[in-house]
Symmetry: C2
Subunit: 1013 residues, 2 copies
């Protein structure tokens, strides 16, 4: 009953259970005990101690403004109960360390704060009846400390209907004349990760151009908005912009304001001791080489420590070269140890008033620095070790048991944006939340929980993953493999209301899934093959559907939501499509030109059209607000060049692909191509490349196309015929030919004509049937296209029936020369509570309509367990020591497969890129057909930088294994869990004609017992 | 005195000594004994017996018309001396077998015909005083037979100033009011090759479209012009058009007229027994398969024999498939022997009146048919064996001594035009006369002298080589390696007069040399490399010069010569340039596009411009005559598609290359490329391809260029600097750096900027000097270009002086990593009169300005001689049996070379494609450095169809040999003569940086004793 009511009366986004498990604000009161924050008859006053933290006062002012926006009412803020106040209802806000009001309530037994007292950033939101004289009922927001109280305030703001993205994405507040707090409300919350933040990095040209235009520089007016966004997302940590900026030096008020508002500042990994890289350019004397210029650098750092002594900070230790380069001295461990010792000395000198173990310090094990660590360099125990991903979203390393016992703990530095090799990605969001979850869940499980910081580049394009990352940082355990779609709907609901939430979640998932398959910056005309598996066409259809649905929804939304919708949804969806279609058109342009086809120029025009479309979308984004008073609100924010990258760096501006144009000859000129191949007659004859259609078989594709096209400007007639060997039936003596059928024996061709080819299986002979289709139009002789049809006994209905008898699980059919199965289609067997294959929807290189996901290997942290009963020391983990018998006990994915032929076939396992997160342990799984002995496969075998580069460009690692299939019919392929963090996306088996592709062929169809053809 | 006078008074072309060794017609009489054919005071009458051959009567009529055109006078033709005739001067014409007039003169002792009597086609032209009553002086043209007389008549016509090309190329006659025959004239001439003719083949679309338009078909009105052309060129043989035509069946008068005029008819190699291939299509019943359909085919052939029984013909024996394909029965020797036996039987039955050994018969050993012969099939001794080239101008085989003793003798079938693999060539002339001479001289020397027939395709574009071929067929010994240039001047003089003959000869040589390097149809954008050796630019300059000179000359010529000049000279010159520049622009378009350069679109426009230029040239040709009354005279004659061949067959119409266009980005964007490489920064950094300038050395190129270019539409500034290692001079202690110099340290770049790099050799260290040039403009970091300078001790002046001391012959310098020397620059040593290296100017893959030629190996026919003292039987000619000592005695080409370094280097010998003309004998030469043992190299080693295809596309064979150079300094490379018909064009030696190219680098410079740097 209560739930039903809530559906009607609760704030529209509060049905979500990921973002807000305990909705406590309603827009209509159904219980007399409900608290009327802004009620039908009464309105509360706000009480906050004058001496409470200035940052909290700011938060309260912010809340006051939010309330005003939502309800139109301005609630007064008082520092104490005022006699004769208009209201006897109070919203009491305070921090336990500074609020006399709270202390009084606690002292008088009115408030129990035991749930938060002494905790880091905890808050409690509860209703108190008659808390003090003159107040009949109060809503108390109590923080265990300054930020605890602030987060409580912003929790209320969010529950009231103010999105954290109210300013940064123009999300309109959901207005309501009244706001009640449900009777009995008692919410306690606190973060699980200590420091949670973002890094504004490589913030040029988009963010910087915008900041210069709006603020004249990276000053505290700008940063105030960043700080507030972080607080609304209950984050507390920032690495500031550094591309050409120095946070504290550009505007000292930046640092002061951060501290006041509660943002803990640090600098990025290569900017030690709270001094920006750019400050050295401004003030440093001599080279940035410690071995040669120690005194100057020491002094430089000393000034940083002194400057920030009284501001809440984390000191970055160590040293790298300038501009994110390694130190010029090389990987000199002795030197770096000396540097850290000197930095500790500076801190000791500066923080004479306290134990420097209480001064937060971090050593970022980023890029080459991890190498120093792995080769034995150590820093004091109280320094947090900040592990990193590989810049492309794959964690390189997680803490071992020994490392987890360090008092400084560990954190993770992650990327949504990166400038560097093999390819920068900075334009729009290309990291699906499923990937973030899978990686950060690992970080959490391995207790890398002291710092979570993510590089967000220009910030603006990354709203969605930032929201996800910071919310997950607050409470990693609230996010599971099973509720990621719900999170997407929650996010959509919070920004746009519940009506279109499912649709919007689909759009968010859709564009980010596509960009997650291959980042826009890594796209080329060749990325998705035009011919193999019709991949480009399938992707094109998917994106066209998304774009069309997004446009339709944009038109349907209320005007005040449209700006936000463009920013968060429609722009990335449309821009993603435009970029794909640009390269898709380029690929068609190249193929058609190579065949000399008339359509070449139309494809060139398409390239231009999509290039212009991209520019128009950017212009639309830059003009956002033109319908309101905010025209140009986000001008330049999409200025990042993103078309035409050929290496790590973006071009100076979007670069139109080279267009190929031809001039159709003034005659008719026939060309012929076979489906799936770029070869065309007559050149094929000369090159000795015969045209061949992909092989037909009974269980596979039943129609293929021969493309008869014109290279000239005049039409021609073609004539086509089937040339089959005569087959005399032994028993009847009749000619059994005629198994190969074509859709026309002649026709006129102006541009092109698809001649359809099919098989009459009642006339084929067992085994391989071979024939040719001959086509004659213009030119010398006939174009001859080879056609084969494999009529395997195993593909005939009785054989299939026999194999399927009494089988529960329908097997996947070997057809068209391959088997392809998504990992999430496998049967999971042998999972235990501690060691299991876990399905993660939306993770992996799939098309949306496949509704597929990956299977992630989960094991207990540190415990290698029964599949790998050896110790964890690096010397003892070679694969030879894992017993096959033990592997057979491990959780496994079982793929039922139905082979048409016996043979040795290539099995490919599509795996997410993964790195060796545990020292000395491989990244392995094992495969076996049926009960055969499992064979170990290791992602780290034959691994080098080149393999890594390819893997992050392709977002895939593919392992191959030769599969011995002894007989046609049903077989069970088993994939055993060995090491954690292995992510299996899909398998393919090449039984003769698998076409290499990007997403690969569609999943093979299942044979059902009623199979009969 | 006489010569001097002739220079003034002889007909303007008669100074030539190749075309006409004995000029006897003058335009002014200086001797009272001169005969006034058309004199100042008197004019001769023409006397020809009424019963003489009708074909001769036609020739006389033709002469009468020619005289009218030249002098304006119509000379009367009488059959006998008429009383009271206006003139007592007579031109008496007759054949010894039919002319009573001549018989009378001979009987009366007035005329001595012993020089021609009984000879084949001989004629005698002589003055006779008072030959008969009423005639005071006569010019007597006596033929030993019908054609002898006819050729005598046309010899006079030519001498009078009527070019054989008067009709077929609109060459104006040179008019003169008077024509005298020099006193004492007595000319006797006769052909050395018995049948001399052309083959109109694959005569579509050009010739056929024109014939249909002008004549409505291949009828006798058309053929009369062909016959007359042949007679004027003193040829006697024709294979008629057969692409879609049947000579005798299309118009029986074709056959009748040919016989009457004196043209011996046959049919091409695959049309046996005087029946056209197309006749079988019209009348044949059943398949063209002798094993299955003997009766019908036998009858078909019988009809041919009967039909042509009384016409002068050569019967083609044997059988091939239809349409120039092999027989469908395969290479069935037994069957073919049966076919020939049947054909002989038909001839025996048909020619009951004579011994069939006197019926001319030929067996064409064309394509696969030669294989039948080589595997032992034989035909009767009286049948002429017609050997063939490989369709690309290289004789496949020549008669052995045994074969030369056959009564039927041998002939040669040659090609100026071919439709087939690997690439058809049919458009314009692409066979240089030097090549024709070298091949047909071989034919002559090996006594293949019974038939010379050449495939001329559409006839019209091949005027120049046809003229050469047929004149050489008349008298092969009149043409030598030394007088080919003179022939070109003679041809030019005959058509256009002496004034511009040298210039016109240069233009003819120029365009045909270029097309001979690579036929237009085999051209692609990649044929002449853009970067290596700056080849494309060098060829472009050459062709631009030709085109400009041809245009200038066209403008200068009298109006009545312009039509002929366009046809014979200006069209092929301009069209050759346009075609080259089209592909040249395409190559630039591709390179610039790959580098993203601003100039890309300009190059695309260039492609279009040259494509349109080609079309305009064709249109001009088709409109020829528009200034006179003959507009459209040659309409459609240049309709052959010739642009865009990708395999053997031409496209349906000229096909514009795919054009690449780009859109310069709206920013500045620096790219950097190093001379000679397509790689460009910044992509090069990412690909790990460092930019490197070709190595400098003291003896080589002293300046190289770094190309700094712009990919954007806005300008930028670059900064450049040299980064050299510091070099401290051991003795002085001073920094010796500074050896690498650049032309600018900064500049603005709008489109591109050539930064010049050079070396100060006074500051280099011995050995390899290495440094980098760094360039910074837009983008991340510096572009770094590697520069090396090799300062080898051997390249320093004292070392060179020492090596050159007392040397006569200046050696060629190893510089820039290679040595290249043209064969004609070698010293020839050891030539004997029978065995020698013979220089042929204009033969080979050279640029015109190289003024180079090839060296051809000549040996006595059949005699292997001292370098190969083994017998000629196939079993005994392996290279092992030739003694090195014997080779050392052979004629040799000696190349003096100056190496900077010792080492093993790759020697490449550029040889003309050549085939194994002598069974069992290789096509070999031998090489040695200095006195080392000569190493045999064989063109036939590792030879297969693929090698052949490449060789005829490239018009080259390149043999490689590893050369051991033990010490720097002077060495003599010797190339020894072993087998005949080897044609050495040039050598190259890669001493470290030879760039693969097409024409290759320019010849290395010679070091002279005064060398000092």
């Amino acid at each position: 009953m209560r739930l039903g009511l809530c559906a009607a009366l609760c704030l529209w986004w509060s049905g979500s259970f990921v973002l807000a498990a305990e909705p406590y604000v309603v827009t209509a009161s159904v219980d007399p005990a409900d608290f009327a924050l802004v009620g039908d008859r009464a309105t509360a006053q706000i009480l906050v101690n004058a001496k409470d933290h200035p940052g909290l006062q700011r938060a309260v002012q912010s809340l006051q403004q939010d309330l005003q926006k939502v309800t139109g009412q301005q609630l007064p803020v008082h520092h104490s109960v005022t006699a004769g106040a208009a209201s006897d209802l109070a919203l009491i806000v305070g921090s336990l360390d500074q609020s006399a009001l709270l202390a009084d309530l606690v002292a008088r037994g009115k408030l129990d704060v035991s749930a938060i007292k002494g905790r880091w950033e905890a808050f409690q939101i509860s209703l108190v009846e008659a808390p003090m004289p003159g107040i009949s009922q109060a809503l108390v927001i109590a923080g265990s400390d300054k930020r605890g109280a602030i987060f409580g305030v912003y929790d209320l703001a969010e529950q009231m209907g103010v999105s954290p993205w109210v300013w940064w994405a123009d999300v309109p507040v959901k207005t309501s004349k009244v706001l009640y707090i449900k009777a009995g409300t008692h919410k306690v919350d606190a973060p699980k990760v200590k420091y949670r933040g973002i890094f504004l990095n490589d913030e040029y040209p988009a963010l910087t151009s915008w900041v210069m235009q709006k603020y004249g520089g990276y000053n505290h007016q700008f940063y105030q908005q960043v700080f507030e966004l972080l607080l609304r997302l209950k984050a507390n940590f920032l690495w500031p912009a550094m591309w050409n900026n120095a946070f504290a030096d550009d505007d000292w008020q930046n640092a002061v304001l951060a501290d006041e508002m509660g943002i803990v500042m640090s600098n990025s990994h290569h900017e030690p001791m709270l001094r920006a890289d750019k400050e050295w350019n401004r003030y440093g004397k001599g080279p940035w080489e410690y071995s040669k210029n120690r005194e100057a650098i020491y002094q430089f750092w000393q000034q940083g420590a002194v400057r920030h002594k009284n501001l809440e900070s984390i000191f970055t230790l160590g040293m790298r070269g300038q501009q994110d380069e390694p130190m010029s001295e090389g990987e000199n461990i002795g030197l770096l140890e000396k540097i850290v010792a000197d930095q500790r000395q500076i801190l000791t000198e500066t923080f004479k008033d306290r134990d420097i173990k209480t001064v937060p310090q971090v050593w970022a094990l980023y890029k080459e620095v991890q190498g120093f660590y792995e080769r034995g360099m150590r820093v004091p125990d109280d320094v947090t070790l900040l592990w990193s991903d590989d810049n492309f979203g794959h964690l390189r390393r997680l803490p071992t048991a020994q490392e987890r016992s360090r008092s400084g703990g560990a954190g993770v530095y992650y990327h949504f944006d990166y400038v560097g090799g093999p390819r920068s990605y900075t334009w729009i969001n290309s990291t699906p939340i499923a990937k973030i979850w899978q990686q950060m869940d690992l970080a959490w499980r391995y207790q890398a929980d002291r710092i979570w910081i993510v590089n967000v580049g220009d910030l603006k394009p990354m709203e969605y993953p930032i929201d996800f990352f910071l919310r997950m940082a607050w409470n990693p355990t609230r996010f599971t493999a099973g509720n990621l779609e719900q999170y997407a709907r929650d996010f959509a609901t919070q920004q746009f209301g519940p009506e279109h939430a499912t649709e919007i979640a689909w759009l968010l998932e859709g564009y980010s899934r596509h960009n997650g398959r291959r980042r826009p910056e890594a796209m080329t005309a060749q990325s998705y093959p035009l011919l193999a598996n019709q991949e480009a066409a399938r992707v094109s259809t998917e994106l066209a559907d998304l774009a069309q649905r997004s446009s339709a929804l944009l038109a349907k939304l209320p005007k005040n939501q449209q700006d936000a919708f463009i920013q968060l949804v429609d722009h990335p969806v449309q821009a993603t499509q435009a970029l794909f279609e640009l390269y898709h058109a380029e690929a068609r342009n190249q193929l058609l030109a190579s065949q000399g086809r008339r359509e070449t120029n139309a494809a060139a025009a398409d390239v231009k059209r999509w290039f212009d479309r991209d520019a128009a979308l950017t212009a639309r984004y830059h003009a956002i607000g033109s319908t309101s008073d905010k025209a140009g609100r986000w001008d330049q924010m999409m200025a990042q060049p993103h078309i035409g990258l050929r290496y790590w760096r973006n071009p100076e501006a979007n670069t139109m692909p080279v267009l190929l144009t031809n001039q159709p000859i003034e005659a008719a000129d026939m060309g012929v191509a076979a489906e799936g191949s770029s070869a065309s007659w007559p050149q094929s004859d000369d090159l000795g490349h015969s045209l061949t259609l992909p092989r037909f078989d009974r269980l596979g594709t039943q129609q293929r196309v021969i493309d008869i096209f014109n290279r000239g400007s005049q039409s021609f007639q073609f004539e086509a015929k089937v040339v089959e060997a005569k087959v005399v039936d032994a028993s009847s003596g009749k000619n059994k030919a005629g198994w190969l059928q074509i859709s026309a024996s002649q026709a006129e061709v102006k541009t092109s004509y698809p001649l359809k080819v099919s098989i009459d299986w009642s006339k084929t002979q067992p085994g391989l049937n071979q024939a040719e289709v001959w086509v004659k139009g213009t030119g010398y002789g006939w174009a001859k296209i080879k056609v084969t049809a494999l009529d395997s006994p195993a593909a005939r209905a009785p054989a299939i029936q026999a194999a399927l008898a009494a089988r529960q699980n329908a097997p996947f059919a070997d057809a068209d020369g391959y088997i392809a199965v998504n990992a999430s289609s496998a049967q999971v067997q042998g999972n235990s509570t501690e060691r299991y294959w876990q399905q993660v929807a939306g993770l992996g290189r799939f098309l949306l309509d496949e509704q597929a996901g990956s299977m992630v290997a989960v094991t207990p942290v540190d415990q290698l367990g029964d599949t790998n009963p050896v110790d964890t020391s690096p010397a003892n983990t070679s694969s030879a020591e894992i017993s096959p018998a033990a592997i057979k006990q491990a959780p496994r994915l079982q793929f039922p497969l139905y082979f048409q032929q016996a043979g040795e076939f290539n099995l490919q396992l599509y795996l997410s890129p993964a790195l060796q997160i545990t020292p000395g342990r491989g990244v392995r799984l094992a495969v076996a057909l049926g009960d055969a002995e499992p064979q170990l496969l290791d992602l780290m075998a034959n691994y080098d930088d080149k393999v890594w580069q390819q893997s992050v460009l392709d977002n895939i690692r593919i392992l191959s294994h030769r599969l011995q299939v002894a007989s046609p019919g049903l077989h069970q392929l088993r994939v055993y869990l060995v090491d954690p963090a292995v992510v299996l996306q899909k398998i393919t088996i090449d039984t003769g004609a698998l076409q290499p592709g990007y997403v690969g062929p569609v999943q093979s169809r299942r044979l059902h017992p009623q199979e009969n053809q």
